[in-house]
């Protein structure tokens, strides 16, 4: 589904990620783990060309999603981001009503019919488990929701565009434990319908959720993937010594 070949991310003269080659299987949940500052977020941002927003950012190497090179002509950045949704660490609903939050991007991408929009809104809110909580106040401000609800709203907002891939950058780290658990169980339920790549600090969470795992580490000042594969294999018998130490909690 996602295939990166020697992906490097540079910000000016600083290299954040070096030669990252990763294969993400369709319908799986892949966890990207590693200590802070080893390029995990930069790697993730490169996958949906969010790096385009940073003037000094440069990408080398190849990224294909669904067999199509993302820098190629087959898709514009906007279309790419419709198929590849992103959830941020800190929930960032727009300062508008819940309904508009979900429908804004739908309208942008071509859906105009009111009934269709409302139907999609209900579907995704049910999918994330928010429908019962907010169905009576769809037109009130999204900012009034709790942190966990806001994050689930952001996931719903991304799901409304029917993406194939969801990229999540530490989606639970800004949430309290209860909200975090809710979001985690939501992610679990999305498995197999979507391909999910989740960056996380929380090894226990990775263990719970991930089918596959990639371990990042800093080598020579840039982030590299030092270990990757099926989660069960890596957690039980990591081959790279640093990865082993990290996963055992003795380093990083």
């Amino acid at each position: 589904m996602i295939h990166t070949v020697s992906l490097s991310v540079h910000y000016g003269t600083f290299t954040a990620v070096r030669n990252a080659s990763l294969i993400v299987r369709q319908g799986s949940i892949t966890a990207i783990v590693g200590p802070s500052g080893c390029g995990k977020s930069s790697f993730l941002n490169a996958l949906n060309r969010m790096t385009d927003l940073i003037p000094s950012a440069r990408i080398t190497g190849k990224v294909s999603i669904d067999c199509c090179d993302i820098h190629d002509n087959c898709r514009s950045a906007a279309e790419l981001r419709r198929c590849v949704g992103m959830i941020f660490q800190k929930p960032n609903p727009f300062p508008m009503s819940i309904r508009r939050n979900i429908q804004l991007a739908l309208r942008e991408h071509g859906t105009r019919d009111r009934t269709e929009l409302d139907a999609i809104t209900e579907r995704v809110l049910r999918d994330v488990g928010l429908w019962d909580e907010v169905k009576d106040r769809l037109d009130s401000s999204a900012l009034q929701l709790s942190g966990g609800q806001q994050q689930r709203l952001c996931i719903a907002r991304a799901l409304a565009l029917q993406p194939q891939v969801l990229l999540m950058d530490e989606p639970c780290s800004a949430l309290d434990p209860i909200a975090s658990a809710k979001v985690e169980s939501l992610i679990n339920n999305l498995r197999s319908r979507y391909t999910i790549v989740i960056v996380t600090h929380n090894l226990a969470q990775a263990r719970r959720l991930a089918d596959d795992i990639a371990v990042f580490w800093i080598a020579d000042g840039a982030g590299e993937i030092i270990e990757q594969g099926a989660a069960a294999d890596i957690f039980d018998a990591p081959s790279h010594p640093t990865a082993a130490a990290y996963l055992a909690g003795t380093q990083g």
Partner: protein
């Protein structure tokens, strides 16, 4: 032995008195001015003052045509300055984010523009709008000249308002594949509305207080204007004329001044309230009015 840094008590006392006296002086004079103007003009204030046309070179009747001219000039100014300042502010925030050479050049020119004396704007307006573009003494020429003057402060305020919108909204919008245009007009600008309104209001305040620039662009005519190419007299120009050129016109000048000051008080108060709701203070009005 006394540390040389600790000052003797009397110095502190004197300084304290001086500071308090200065502060009171400023406030006192402010009150003096406002009260004086109001008291002297009070006798002339009435609904008919606002409604009637000018008579007897301003000694009689009211200021209805003046108010109409002022509003007409203001409309011209805003119709040009608002879109231009909004578009320029967007350019400065979104597309020259990293203070490129172009961005710095634009900013520097605007800084100089902000400091240009208003009589110099009057000269420019006269040479460019009235003569070169053939508008003659007209409301149009006056309005356009004021637009040039209001531009720097409106751009500055609008830019601040846009920059104060948190980046996370932009990132969320980008991640959803929204175009830059949609992001700007449906997410960022709506979120920046209080600041934008403050900019608008400051621009209005600047334009209303202007006098010198209008003397040679929109002129002195007291008739009710019928079109934008008519000459018209603004409130501030009327005050000047009544005070300097019309014997016995002082009272009416004060009355007109009261109207103008109340209007400006209202407008500036609105600006301050709007700015506070964005969490920023109104920039020091160093180019207040001439």
């Amino acid at each position: 032995m006394r540390s040389p840094v600790i000052s003797p008590a009397w110095k502190e006392r004197v300084a304290s008195v001086a500071i308090w006296v200065s502060a009171s002086l400023i406030v006192g004079v402010l009150a003096w001015i406002l009260i004086d103007i109001f008291m002297k003009g009070f006798s002339q204030l009435s609904i008919s003052f606002l409604r009637d046309e000018v008579e007897d070179a301003g000694r009689g009747g009211g200021i209805a045509s003046i108010i109409a001219s002022t509003l007409a000039i203001l409309t011209v100014t805003l119709s040009v300055a608002v879109p231009l300042s909004l578009a320029t502010a967007i350019a400065l925030t979104e597309y020259t984010r990293d203070l490129t050479r172009g961005g710095r050049f634009v900013r520097r020119s605007l800084d100089v523009l902000a400091a240009v004396p208003s009589i110099v704007f009057g000269l420019f307006g006269n040479a460019f709008f009235c003569i070169a573009l053939g508008m003659g003494y007209s409301i149009l020429a006056g309005g356009l000249t004021l637009a040039c003057m209001a531009l720097p402060i409106m751009i500055r305020t609008t830019e601040q308002a846009i920059r104060s919108v948190p980046d996370e909204y932009r990132f969320a919008a980008a991640a959803l594949g929204l175009s830059r245009t949609t992001t700007m007009f449906r997410v960022v600008l709506p979120a920046a509305t209080p600041g934008l309104a403050a900019g608008l209001v400051l621009g209005i305040g600047r334009a209303l207080a202007e006098t010198a620039a209008l003397l040679f662009t929109s002129g002195y005519v007291t008739r009710m204007p019928e079109s934008l190419s008519d000459s018209g007299r603004a409130l501030s120009v009327h005050i000047y004329d009544m005070a300097m050129n019309v014997p016995g016109g002082n009272t009416r000048a004060c009355a007109t001044a009261t109207v103008l000051v109340l209007l400006l008080l209202f407008i500036n108060g609105a600006a301050v309230m709007l700015m506070r709701s964005v969490g920023r203070h109104v920039p020091p009005t160093r180019s207040g009015s001439v």
